[in-house]
């Protein structure tokens, strides 16, 4: 049986590990040179790789994953620096590109472990040099030993906000402020469920307490106003507190993000249906608890199948591999599957509490000022999307996301809506007085990322 695994983050590594243990030698494809995914991405050769300073509390977990990854490479058809840019589920074929060279990989079963990226809400000034996603700020530090600026403000919500602020301060960066759009009370209410997270929850509390002890400016329940600056960068962030007072923090860089969203474009191209997960406020590909999808031969694992975090990704990776093996008639020890399913169920309860503690602030996207640049790829402003939606609605059925794309180019740019898609859907829903599930989602197009035209045209 020919199995392909796409992605070498926590989910991909554990999937391949289980397949290899069953005697298979999968084709294993990753866009990066060295695997690890975003969370356990390693610095390029030449930089020190001290796990303790790079991954903090997760050092042991990261090292274990890297060791497994490196041990597995020679035992499968390892293809680093390779982008899967299209998938043909009928022919069971992945289209790949490596260093300008095209290839096709056929599979009987494919496990897609494509990960996640930051979910952002545009605000005035967010395209200035010096503004990055929270994940970007972390990657700069982790893999390049760099801070995104001299004085950094972190803005958004979610566990990553506190973690990255902590990592920056610990590394010696000047953290000028941590601005959480979630009010304290929302988080406090979720505490009983968060306790299920045990060590993960304890670590989160530790980061917050550590930042407070350091005297770092922290505000909760904020409304971001703007990122000020000029063409050469950022000079300040302005925001409004819960009591309605306006504030300003001088800084030269901003890391922003409101949780994560699945990078599920390949599942989409494979024709896996999607559902809107109201708790996560994300569109997620449909799969069962083991990672099977309604599309024959396609399995999903990790954050690309719905946000669960690195620990859950390792479990879902192993679980999807077990599903592949089960479906191929391998005899498995039922104790292994049952134990894994039990751990996944308890993690799901913690995850739900986490989503309640840091809900996606849809109201901020909906309230975006008309002249705010919404789509950074196509230079489209929020007001232009609203006006176009009104005009379209007046002449026909209420527009959904893909029609909006046709009449405004939102999501048609170089990132294909990865960055602004979530906020754009909220704006449309508010303007047309309907829900995000009614607005629908942007459908993926091959290639999943821009590739050289010559490569695309080649057979």
């Amino acid at each position: 049986m020919k199995v392909a695994v796409v992605g070498a983050g926590p989910a991909g590594v554990r999937a391949v590990e289980r397949l290899v243990a069953a005697g298979l030698s999968p084709v294993w494809i990753d866009e990066a040179s060295d695997g690890g995914g975003r969370i356990y991405q390693r610095p390029p050769p030449g930089l020190a790789r001290d796990a303790r300073s790079l991954y903090g509390f997760e050092a042991k977990r990261a090292t274990a994953l890297h060791d497994t990854l490196d041990a597995l490479k020679p035992r499968c058809d390892w293809r680093p620096d390779t982008l899967v840019w299209h998938i043909r589920p009928g022919a069971r074929q992945l289209q790949t590109l490596c260093g300008g060279r095209q290839d096709a990989v056929t599979y009987d079963a494919a496990i897609l472990c494509t990960g996640a990226m930051d979910r952002v809400i545009p605000l005035p000034g967010w395209t200035r040099p010096g503004v990055t996603t929270m994940g970007a700020a972390q990657i700069a530090l982790k893999t390049q030993g760099c801070a995104i600026g001299h004085r950094v403000v972190f803005l958004g919500t979610g566990p990553l906000l506190w973690l990255v602020a902590y990592q920056y301060a610990k590394a010696g960066a000047d953290v000028a402020g941590v601005l959480d759009t979630t009010p304290f009370i929302t988080k406090a209410r979720a505490t009983p469920g968060l306790l299920l997270g045990g060590a993960t929850f304890a670590k989160g509390l530790y980061y917050i307490a550590w930042l407070r002890r350091r005297g770092i400016r922290i505000a909760e329940g904020v409304t971001p106003l703007a990122i000020e600056g000029g063409d050469d960068g950022v000079t300040a962030v302005t925001w409004r507190d819960a009591a309605g007072r306006d504030h300003r923090i001088d800084c030269d860089a901003v890391g922003m993000g409101w949780g994560l969203k699945p990078e599920a474009q390949l599942a989409d191209l494979a024709a896996v249906p999607f559902r809107h997960d109201a708790l996560q406020a994300n569109w997620v590909p449909v799969r069962d608890g083991a990672g099977r999808t309604p599309v024959a031969g396609i399995y999903l694992a990790g954050d690309g199948a719905g946000i669960g975090g690195a620990e859950v990704a390792e479990m879902t990776g192993a679980r999807a591999a077990l599903a592949v093996l089960e479906d191929a008639g391998h005899r498995l020890d039922p104790i292994e599957t049952v134990a894994l399913d039990r751990r996944l169920a308890s993690q799901a309860r913690f995850r739900a509490a986490l989503e309640r503690a840091f809900p996606f602030p849809a109201h901020l996207a909906r309230a975006m000022a008309d002249d705010t640049l919404l789509c950074r790829c196509e230079g489209l402003r929020a007001g232009e999307l609203r006006a176009a939606a009104r005009a379209e609605a007046a002449t026909g059925p209420a527009p959904e996301m893909n029609r909006a794309k046709a009449f405004t180019r939102v999501g048609m740019g170089r990132c294909q809506g990865r960055v602004c898609g979530a906020a754009a859907a909220e704006i449309l829903a508010a303007e047309l007085n309907c829900t995000v599930p009614q607005i629908g989602r942007l459908r993926g197009q091959p290639p999943v990322k821009p590739i050289p035209i010559s490569a695309e045209a080649a057979p």
Binding site: P43, L47, A48, D232, R414, C415
Partner: protein, 91 residues
């Protein structure tokens, strides 16, 4: 935008050129790091006239960090390692 080197900042030096101007960088830098830790300030101008851009996601997803590398074409600065002697133009 100026990236600040906090750790591991004494690696072997390499030199690239951005629009003809020499840029001092370090082995192991991505193009994005090499340019923005030096004084390039930004990577490209938005084609819609709304100002300069310097990348956003650093994970190969947003495509806002494109630069042109002589002989290799348009590349994502965040996902390409800098090499000694590279000739770069703003994307």
């Amino acid at each position: 935008m100026k990236l600040v080197r906090l750790r591991d900042a004494a690696r072997p030096r390499i030199t690239l050129r951005l629009d003809g101007v020499p840029i001092e960088a370090q082995r192991g830098d991505t193009l994005l790091t090499a340019l923005l830790a030096a004084d390039a300030g930004y990577l490209r101008d938005s084609e819609f006239g709304d100002g300069p851009r310097a990348g956003f996601c650093l994970m190969g997803a947003c495509q806002d960090c494109w630069v042109v590398v002589e002989g290799r074409g348009r590349l994502r600065a965040c996902a390409t390692l800098a090499e000694d002697g590279m000739e770069i133009r703003r994307g």
